[in-house]
């Protein structure tokens, strides 16, 4: 239960950061996805099932307050949670560089689903072209956290 509340707090902080500080550090309108980073860490730690359900509920909350089509973020985050869960520490225990690569791909998948459903008449090429900068920014930001976690928390080392 304590762990559950802790993750709710983490997601809440990520959402608050996303709508406050993260929007301030955007470069040409491209900003990282803090919620995705937290979801990624949770899915890596606890696997597919936790990733899917967390992604679904977090996405649903974002949908409620974003004013867009209900269910889009829920679907995107669910898929991302499930995808990242495939590489969980229990199964593969990936190193930090590999984790960054997974997050980069997860970010592209997230944006791909989001734009595909939310934006009408957009081509796959356009989606990927738009997603890459944002995915890169998210990956770079998460790299700091992941490397810090890897080097300063001995239990996280392989």
């Amino acid at each position: 239960m304590r762990r559950f509340i802790t993750w709710i707090v983490y997601f809440s902080i990520a959402m608050v950061l996303q709508s406050t500080i993260i929007s301030q550090i955007s470069i040409h309108g491209i900003h990282p996805n803090a919620v995705l980073i937290v979801l990624f860490i949770l899915s890596i730690e606890y696997g597919k099932c936790a990733g899917i359900w967390s992604g679904f509920f977090v996405g649903l909350i974002i949908d409620l307050y974003s004013g867009g089509i209900l269910g889009v973020q829920a679907l995107a985050n669910t898929v991302v949670g499930g995808f990242v869960g495939l590489f969980s520490r229990r199964r593969l225990n990936p190193g930090p560089v590999f984790q960054i690569l997974i997050l980069f791909i997860a970010s592209i998948i997230h944006n791909f689903i989001y734009y595909l459903v939310e934006t009408e008449g957009i081509t796959s090429f356009e989606i990927i072209y738009t997603s890459i900068p944002s995915a890169l920014y998210t990956a770079i930001l998460s790299a700091i956290l992941l490397f810090a976690g890897h080097y300063f928390i001995p239990s996280r080392r392989r």
Binding site: G47, I61, L70
Partner: protein
């Protein structure tokens, strides 16, 4: 039914993914009215989260508001600086007008465009030159008092040598007693006058130009006596003078367009010097 539960339990991840994706797709494909209804229900359930999001939105609004206020402050600061400048210019114009009425000479107003790049400058450059009628040795004053004289004239600017220049020697007059002395600056900072001993010289007395020497016209205010000390020669006294004009902060000055009184005797004077 048992087999279904067993299947779900054995394929937790797959079933979870199936269920969540199915719900998401149902939500996406539901109609606008349906979505509003679901949003209403979910908003009630997620009320605590709403509070967090609302507060975070307030913080974001604070950021934006702060940014806007900062921009406004910048605009106001620029406006304020411009108004201050207008006030200074207006005050300078008034000073110039009053000075022109007070002094029976033609004045030419000039702006200081550069100072000598040393901590205590002894020369300044002004934006009036030969083309404006400026000539060498013309006296320069401001509304407070004497500043110096034009030492070099170029076509569009001139250099003014301040009274504290060590080379400068200026004939001055103790206004009350009428004693004449030579004002000079040995260190380029403090002004002193060597004057024949007079008992009735006191700190605070006014020193004006004597008119001797041919450069400065008589009775131009120069400064006040700030200190009196004994000189090496017992006949004289060293009088420290505090200038009326603030020589460190000059912005606008006035040139007295007066020909040097001794110009016509220049050849003879040069001959005598030799």
């Amino acid at each position: 039914m048992h087999w279904l539960i067993a299947f779900i339990l054995s394929h937790k991840s797959g079933s979870s993914l199936f269920v969540t994706v199915l719900i998401s797709l149902m939500l996406i494909n539901s109609g606008r009215t349906e979505q509003k209804r679901i949003t209403g229900i979910l908003t009630t359930i997620f009320f605590p989260v709403e509070m967090v999001v609302n507060n975070s939105n307030k913080i974001r609004n604070l950021f934006e508001e702060n940014q806007k206020l900062n921009q406004k402050i910048s605009v106001l600061q620029v406006e304020n600086a411009s108004l201050q400048n207008a006030l200074v210019m207006d005050s300078l114009k008034t000073d110039f007008r009053e000075l022109s009425e007070e002094i029976p000479y033609n004045l030419l107003q000039a702006e200081v465009i550069s100072y000598e790049p040393v901590p205590i400058h002894r020369t300044i450059t002004i934006n009036k030159g030969r083309s404006d009628g400026v000539k060498q040795n013309m006296p320069v004053i401001n509304f407070e008092g004497v500043i110096g004289k034009v030492s070099m004239v170029l076509s569009n600017c001139s250099r003014v040598q301040l009274i504290r220049m060590p080379d400068e020697k200026l004939s001055v007059l103790h206004e009350r007693s009428g004693s004449v002395g030579i004002l000079k600056s040995n260190d380029g900072k403090n002004l002193t006058v060597n004057m024949i001993t007079q008992k009735n010289i006191f700190p605070g007395d006014t020193i004006v130009t004597s008119g001797l020497g041919g450069v400065y016209p008589p009775q131009l205010p120069l400064g006040t006596v700030s200190d009196i000390s004994e000189a090496q020669n017992p006949l004289y006294k060293n009088i420290s003078v505090s200038s009326f004009a603030d020589l460190n902060n000059l912005r606008f000055v006035n040139i007295i367009t007066l020909e040097n009184k001794w110009t016509s005797y220049k050849t003879e004077l040069d001959f005598l010097d030799e």
